[in-house]
Structure formats: C-alpha cells, structure tokens
Subunit: 231 residues, 4 copies
Amino acid sequence: MLEELKQQVYEANMELPAKGLVTYTWGNVSGIDREKGLFAIKPSGIAYEDLKPSDMVLMNLNGESVEGDYKPSSDTPTHLELYKAFPQVGGIVHTHSAWAASWAQAGRPIPCYGTTHADYFYGEIPCARSLRPEEIEMEYEKNTGLVIVETFQGMNPAYVPGVLCTNHGPFAWGKDAEEAVHNAVVMEEVAKMAARTEQLKTEVGEAPKTIQDKHFFRKHGPNAYYGNAGK
Amino acid sequence: MLEELKQQVYEANMELPAKGLVTYTWGNVSGIDREKGLFAIKPSGIAYEDLKPSDMVLMNLNGESVEGDYKPSSDTPTHLELYKAFPQVGGIVHTHSAWAASWAQAGRPIPCYGTTHADYFYGEIPCARSLRPEEIEMEYEKNTGLVIVETFQGMNPAYVPGVLCTNHGPFAWGKDAEEAVHNAVVMEEVAKMAARTEQLKTEVGEAPKTIQDKHFFRKHGPNAYYGNAGK
Amino acid sequence: MLEELKQQVYEANMELPAKGLVTYTWGNVSGIDREKGLFAIKPSGIAYEDLKPSDMVLMNLNGESVEGDYKPSSDTPTHLELYKAFPQVGGIVHTHSAWAASWAQAGRPIPCYGTTHADYFYGEIPCARSLRPEEIEMEYEKNTGLVIVETFQGMNPAYVPGVLCTNHGPFAWGKDAEEAVHNAVVMEEVAKMAARTEQLKTEVGEAPKTIQDKHFFRKHGPNAYYGNAGK
Amino acid sequence: MLEELKQQVYEANMELPAKGLVTYTWGNVSGIDREKGLFAIKPSGIAYEDLKPSDMVLMNLNGESVEGDYKPSSDTPTHLELYKAFPQVGGIVHTHSAWAASWAQAGRPIPCYGTTHADYFYGEIPCARSLRPEEIEMEYEKNTGLVIVETFQGMNPAYVPGVLCTNHGPFAWGKDAEEAVHNAVVMEEVAKMAARTEQLKTEVGEAPKTIQDKHFFRKHGPNAYYGNAGK
C-alpha cells in the first residue's frame, strides 16, 4: 500500500546521513498522503544502512499503525500533531543536527542575519518553549508536537518551515518529505552561519526587513522568479 | 557557439560543490569572451549533478540571452554590471560559502591578518554597503552589482579579486572562470582563518604593510617570482 | 583463543578512524570475556591500516599478557583498573577526540544541555581530578584508572558511560567494545554541541531535570521504549 | 641521483593534501641526505595531482639547484637555513594549515594544554618574532629561516619539532620528511584543541609540568616505552 510514498520517505530518510545531519540512528522523516489520511515514517531503532523502503511504517491520523513490520519512530506522536495542525505540510523531519541543536540547547530562536536564511525562512526560526514537567512525564512526544503548534499560532508554517525545541533539537517540514529534508539542511547551514556571525560581531542586528522580503518573495509566492529553470 | 567557453564555465561551476562552497543549487559562475562581448553563465535552478556544458546560457552585454535552453541565473544582472565596469575581469563567481557569508552577515570587511590573505588579496576584502530599500525593491540584482562597483571606486579589482555584500555573501572574480573560483576558495579559507585569529586574540591588528606588500608582489605584477614553475 | 572477542575488539578499534575520533595510532579499544577473566586490547604503536584481528593482545586481570605477538597498548593498566572496579563494563575505549579532549584540557565536566546528551549520559560527564606528581611519576597509567574509579564513587558507570581526564582526554565504556565506541562517538558529538551552546549563550543552565530523566529512562532501564525495533 | 630520497619526499608532499593541511599548491616538504649534503624539495607551483617523484628538485647546502627540471619551492631558502642550523633535522615541512596559521596570525605561541601536545612537543610551540621591514624586503625567505633559528637559541629542535611564524604559518620538522609531516599534522590538531580549550575556559593554565614531562619522555629519549610495538 502506498509504495510510492514509502519509497519517497525512504529516500528522504537516507538523505539524513548523506547530508551529515545525523549520527547513528538519530533522526526520522515522514511523508503524508492527504487523500488517504495516512503517513509513512521511519521505523524505530533500525540502522540507516539496513533500512529498506518496505520498512517504512504506515500510520493513520488517529496514531494507529496500519502497516509495517516494525514499531514506528518514537517521535511519531510529534509528527502526528503537526500533520493534524498544519494541513499544508506534506513531509516532516526531526534531527539532532549539531548547529541547530546547539541553538535549541541555548533556548534561542535563530535570527535572520542574511539572505541565505531569508531565501527559505521568513523571519526568525522560533524556539518553542520548554515543556512543563507534567507535559514531559505524560505523552511527552505528543506534547512536543502541541508546543510547536502553540508556537506557530498566528504564523504561517509554509513561510517558516521549521522550529527549534528547547534543550532538544530541530523539526523541519515542507510540501513533501524531500522538501522537509531540504529545509532541514538549510536550517543547519543557517544555524552555523548565524553562530559565526555573532562571533564576528557582538552587537549584530537582523537583516533589514526589505532585504528579507525581497529574498523570501523572489523565491516564494505568486511573484517568485528565482531558481525557476524556465525554458 | 563558444563551446570552449561553455565548457570552461561548466567546469568552474562544478568546482563549487567539489570544493564545498555550495549547498544544493546555490552559487553560480560565469566567464566572458571579451572579443565577442558574450558571457556564459549557469542556468537558474538546475542541480549540479544534472548540469551539462550545453546548459550554460550565453548573454550579451545588454543583458539579453542569446543562446540556451534555460533562464540564466537570477544573479545574472550582478555579473553583467561587474563585466561592464571591470574590463580586466574574465570570470565571476557568487556563492554563500559559510565563512565568507558570516563576515557578510556581520557587515564587516575581512582584515588582512596574514600572508595567506596577502598572497591573493592586497589589503582588506571590502564589504559593500547595504542596499537602500528602493535599490532592493527595483532591479535588486543589478543594484547589487552597482554597489560593488561603487565600493571599488579608486581600487584595482585585479588586486582585490573579491568582495562581500552586506547581509548576503561573497562575489569573487579573476582573469577567467577558473581563476574566479580559485579566488573564491581562497576567500573562504582566509575568512575562516581571520575569524579564528580574532577568537585567539581580541585586539589583533592587521599584518604589517611590508609583509603584505612582499607576499602580494612576489606573486603578482612584473617582479613576481613565487609559484612560477620555471624550467 | 577467544577469536570472536578479538574480532569484535578489532572491529571496534577500526571504528575509531572510520568515525574520525583518532589521528594516526592514537586511541585504543578493549573488550573483556568476564567468564574467562581475559580482555583483548589493541597492540601498541601499530597503524590502523596494518591492524589484524590476530594482533589483539590477550591480558588477564593481573595485568599479564597471555597471548599476542605485540606489546599491549601503553594505556592497558588504565583499562585493567576499570575492568576490576566496574564489573558491569564489557568494553573500554580511550581517544584524544578533539572536542572531548578540549573539555578535558579545560578541566571541565560537560554539562547536560540537552536531550542528545540525556539520551546516553545521565547528568554531567565528569572530569577526573588532576593526578598528583607522585601519581604521575610512578604507575601513571594505573593511577589514571584509579582516579577515574575515585571519580565514580557513588555513581553508576552504566548510567554515565564515560569520563574526561584533566589535561588528557576521554575514556568511554559500554557492555561490549562496540557499545564503548558508540558512546565515545556520542560523547564527542555532545562535547561539540555543549561548546557551541555556551558560545551562543553565556549564562546557559543545564537542561531541566525532568527532561533529563525522560530522555535517559525512555532509552534505558525497565521502562525503556525508545529505539527498540519491536515487531 | 638519490631516487629513494626523492620518492620519500614526494610521498611526504602528497600527504599534505591527503591530511587536509593544504589548499591548491600551498605547502612544501623537503628531506635531506646528510652524507651527500643534498636535499630534495617540491618544485614551485606544480599541482599536487600532477606531481611525480622525479619532479623533486635537488639542492646543495649552498642553495644551488643541482638536479631537476623545475625551480625549487620559493620557500627553499628557509629550508636551507634550518638544515644548516639544526643538524639533527632530516625533513622539513611548511604549510598554511588553518588552525596553526590562525595562531600565527594572532602572533601567539601555542601553550601546552594537554597530553596530545606533550606527547610530541615539549613545552609551548613558539612563535617567531615579526621580521623587520629590511628583513622582509631583502632575502625574505632566508630571513624567515634565520628568525626561526634565532627563536630556537638555547632550545632543542628535536624536543620542539615545529614553530609558528608571525602573520604567516607553521613550519615543522623531524628526522625525515615523513616524520616532519607527521609533526605538522599533530601541530594542526593541537592548535585546534588549544583554541577550543581557551573558548571553554577563559583563564586556562598550562598543563602541570609533571604531566608534560611524563608524556613527552614516555615517548622520547632513552626511557621511552610508549608506542613501541615490541614483540
């Protein structure tokens, strides 16, 4: 069932070690078929080198596994909450990529210091608040999703396709699993550059709003003209 | 038309991922045939692994595409202004390489702290001023070129073959596309070393003028004797 | 004798250069057969590319070499003390991996700033005190082991599977040689992230205790549910 | 003539890009035959991928090229002064490796913060003083050698097999070309760790003298017992 989706999600998962975003089995990617209301996600605790497309676990939006030989990733309840709250999202990825996780450990959003950031993320990449003790003790992974949704109240998740979770690490998303991973790679690069920018200038301000607007909207929305191969 | 130039520009573009200067499709290289008044440039939004020499787009100095199946890189108007203003330049490259882009995001020129820098860049690598809102809103990429030209008033672009654009990233150039990429690789290395130098010593000064002169002029100009294979 | 153990210890040693934890011949891994009271360890001064499983040296718990063509690693007396004091440990690794060694050179334990750390190490990774001059001059490598044992008084080495030695570098351990190396890789990653976290926020506190508990105990102990492939 | 020496020097030169110490054609290695009073050195400006053992240039100790199709490295006069002043040295290497060069650009010696350093360098790695303007203008490369020799007055170059040159980069040496490169790799690693150590602890002191002595002399001199394969 949904062999093409499983293949896509498999390939997106394999991009994580290929792009240096994960160590060992850390990280997981999912992708959803909105019509069928099912998403495919990496199984828990399987090494990337042993992973096969058919190992992807199919879940419904009630959080039930409907197909697959393995348990789904332990972070599945987080993915589920994001799919339920963000209807425009088609793929989700979680990693502990080192630069983004360092911002998360510092509990700081990543300011938009330049056009590399503005090409993909409109404004700062937010940092979700710490979970309260009771949110950690019960349904921790579900609450991780809910606190992300809380963070995005009044925001468009298509304009800011990623978030940091305090003391934890990044989640990113996109229209499908491949784009989610693409955005996770960009977030790691942007997190690295922002840290170095602050090292070079203690009192550094965000990039001017006009340049943030220019770069984001030349790539996104109805008037985009950048990176379009045309003919 | 100009198959050799397209081949050179193609190879120079492929050096960007090989040298670790770009992520995904970021970055673009062009090279010019001054006699014919035409330059070849990477097409917009094509992945490096899919790029072929015949995909390079040929442009004239009025900014018109004269050959090619694709749209030219969105940054083409920047390249165009540099070719028009700097007649000694034969190749241009733009990247978001992480160390140079971090200096650009900090809005700081890269001071000449040592001979690695002085071997290639005579004095600091300047940082062009921020564009004004109206320069961003209309003809942004052209204005990016014009503000670089403004930065180099009274300077020799052959002596300082690169620049940072505030909140954006580096441009570099050379006598051809290959040398432009070579200078971009050196700028990234120099940007990394300069950041680390400042980490090691808060109050660090530029390298003495005599050693800057010695290193630059033993490699450049009529009395150069360094790196010349001889026979 | 104990060919399977030697093979495991050989493979764990070869993981050190593969994971980028060692330069040249630095680093050594051992693994123990508790029933026979013998451990296998890397020989001293042999390049990784020349290493063979049969080169592993077999030692008894009196510190005597009982099989092998070479001298055991100079750090063997440290391994020996750890095996004697920590009966639950089945494998030990020592490296000079750069991030962990930098914390050791600073003489600082690595605080638990996030879940990457808490998934593997319960609380801070301690830094053993400096050896006294007389402990350095006589039986230095044995005393290095004893000071680690002293550091873990009242602690469970299965909950904190690694340590820093002041001015020196990290030791890590696990239920076997493979897990010891896995923990050494994680310690290096965690050391890197913790350094960057402090760079991003001067006054950073440890992750809240509840999240440390949650992450450690969802992976370890009787109620673990994370990273278990299930079926 | 001296084909074996040329082969060794060729191989040592090829280690520089393999170990990530050089960009493009930067860096050069030489090795000497003390009986014949001749040293072999990398030719100037030849790309590493095009280098052949027969390209090595043979020089005598008067600084004259006695065999070879190319000009010797521009840094040859520096190598020459070191061979003349340090009779125990059999091989020399110069690079602009990024961490060591950053210390050189900061004009700071590398303090001995730990055992990785003490295993190879006894005490700090010194930083030679800046050359005076007249030393730069005339016979710059020779004077670079002389100021290193000046720095080592009263020191044993076999105990401290490397140096930084202010605003420039590192030189390292050893009993032959291979060991010189080995020491250059270690210096880069040690330079990296020392920078990170200072980032982690502002007021960090050198490693205690007893541990420096222990680590250096367990590997060097008549009582060495470390890293000796034995039998």
